[in-house]
Symmetry: C3
Subunit: 280 residues, 3 copies
Amino acid sequence: MRYSYETLKVVLKDGVLVATIANPSLNLLDTKLLTDLDRFTAAVANDQNVKVIVFESADPDFFVPHGDMGFVDDPAAFATLSIGTDQDQRLNPMQRLFERIRKLPQVTIGKLAGRARGGGAELLQAMDMRFASLERGYLAQMEAPTGIIPGAGGTVYLPRLVGRARAMEIVLGADLFDAATAERYGWINRALPDAELDKFVARLSRNIARLPDGVIGAAKSALDSNFGDPTNALLEQNRLLGETFKQPAAADFTRKALKNGAQTREGERNLEAILHDVEQ
Amino acid sequence: MRYSYETLKVVLKDGVLVATIANPSLNLLDTKLLTDLDRFTAAVANDQNVKVIVFESADPDFFVPHGDMGFVDDPAAFATLSIGTDQDQRLNPMQRLFERIRKLPQVTIGKLAGRARGGGAELLQAMDMRFASLERGYLAQMEAPTGIIPGAGGTVYLPRLVGRARAMEIVLGADLFDAATAERYGWINRALPDAELDKFVARLSRNIARLPDGVIGAAKSALDSNFGDPTNALLEQNRLLGETFKQPAAADFTRKALKNGAQTREGERNLEAILHDVEQ
Amino acid sequence: MRYSYETLKVVLKDGVLVATIANPSLNLLDTKLLTDLDRFTAAVANDQNVKVIVFESADPDFFVPHGDMGFVDDPAAFATLSIGTDQDQRLNPMQRLFERIRKLPQVTIGKLAGRARGGGAELLQAMDMRFASLERGYLAQMEAPTGIIPGAGGTVYLPRLVGRARAMEIVLGADLFDAATAERYGWINRALPDAELDKFVARLSRNIARLPDGVIGAAKSALDSNFGDPTNALLEQNRLLGETFKQPAAADFTRKALKNGAQTREGERNLEAILHDVEQ
């Protein structure tokens, strides 16, 4: 299988595929990156040479800052994205993409250094495991102050990781969480010193990729048999996301955030300051 | 809406309602406080001006020590309390009150400094989130040594927060947990230095209260769609509570605890010493 | 009731039964120990004088290293072990034994100092609570590199304790976890300094054993009413375990591990080094 994308660098070695997100200037989850992730995940799902997929970022400051806020001016363009076409079509495109990632036969590992907010955080939550840099890893569900709820799996994947009380704090408080707190909450498997993160993930990935045939599939199936199908909760998420979008003022919050510096490199460093003020 | 109660001071500002429990001498969850909480929660459920409700205590040492042990001498008075009349009448009065709190449309936040045991701990568990003072926050389910099980939601709300193994330790060990351990167990969202607790909760509450219309309701619904209805487990809790109450000696344990200092300010500081000895 | 076994020392005092695993040279979960655990648990289930059962190890380095790898040469001997005859016969013998332990009417507490891997870790997971020595407690599900999945409850009990993401890391990474990490993951209730562990468990056990009549049973029933029956997930685990066993090379991995030092005292100290290399 050949993997070649504009916004995603793919290197496969000994069963471990490293997919590096490289979508300058910010690694925004825009149409380009969504499309590349869609093409990549559709292809890799059938690649028997790939045992483990590690997602990382080429940008030291941003894993994926969030979905492209520009969609607010053309919601139809988002709703009709031809993405995740093999998934339940009642889900929105980003939900369909992340559900495909969640159900990949390989073991998926998110390596987080830099910020992952909104859809970037949900992308990570769709993976099997997450490891973050203690010094540089940050997570947030920042949708609420822009008038919507997380709409790409977050309200479903997140409570499975951190429980209802902490998911409520994350979603409604919409604050930036450092890696140490994210580990205490269960949002990530573990926070590791930046100097150890690469080695830790490389070793874990290599050990898993070298497991005897059949073990990865059997282990994933055995673990998954404990959990119900999330489709109904995802449909409810999508319905409620639509309700919030319908609020007359909803798009204005995002437009104001954009005007105040969102989706600029400087603004994204402390996006919370922009968002928590935007509705004043 | 006007809120005026004997044992509950209510202040509403910019969508954040702070309800301060002030029921001297100990903040016991007695008929007075239960009745005020019932009236307050019935009223506030329909108050569209209230977005966030913070419950705190006026007493620096006790949030709510527990339910009034005096009910042991008049169980009928407890069972027939006219509380939570809009809830499932097969539940006991305290379960009905806490179920109403659990289902409030607002975001409910418990701010814990001092001790919360028994029904006081269950009151906190019925809320959406809990934050505690690292130095002064303490939690316990202290019912077991008095011959009963937690009967106001605890055996249902608690395992959802901390899992079965830690809930078993909390309920059967009946020990006092400091805030740091409670955080590690997931019993509370987070333990914060006493000097930061007020500011943290105030900021979080303000940010949530200022969220655009519709977001709070959509987020709560989306998160709740992941969890089953707890009514059957609450009915089973109530049935089993009744079984333990029927034990001939059950009331005696509580009477002895009262004789040994329970429900006095000094005795309540180290209630565990009284309770773990009471059955000798 | 008289309890006398070759590999299990049993002492009962004031309602607390301490069962000390003593099966030299390694405390392997072999036919002898499995049979003694089966006879012990069948008998104790009906002993009303026993309120709390503490499982500990006589070996300072090993709680239970894992199931006897020798079964690989005689899988029929394992499959036909006459163990857990009162349990669902569609489950394998070790699942049946651990399900009986999981459903004991008493409160079961694992006290972990030394290593518990594979079936030894699953034995602990079947108990109500687990406390470990901060300095000497270690846990691993080490099955994956030997070509199989944990087959005695692990893929069912473990995600209930630590969630899917961390269970995936534990099962597929197959690494040794120290007690501090195990606590953060929720695998154990708590890690305690070695010098405090015995006292902590003794005090907790004594307090629970002294609880008034009826409280233990009511609390366990009330807590269990929140969780579904795990039988279907256990059947799926057993089916998938069988699939991995059928791989032509599966038994070879175990035989190589044995040749490289597994099941020797020295080899078991760092079994991961042997296992992660065995498949090269």
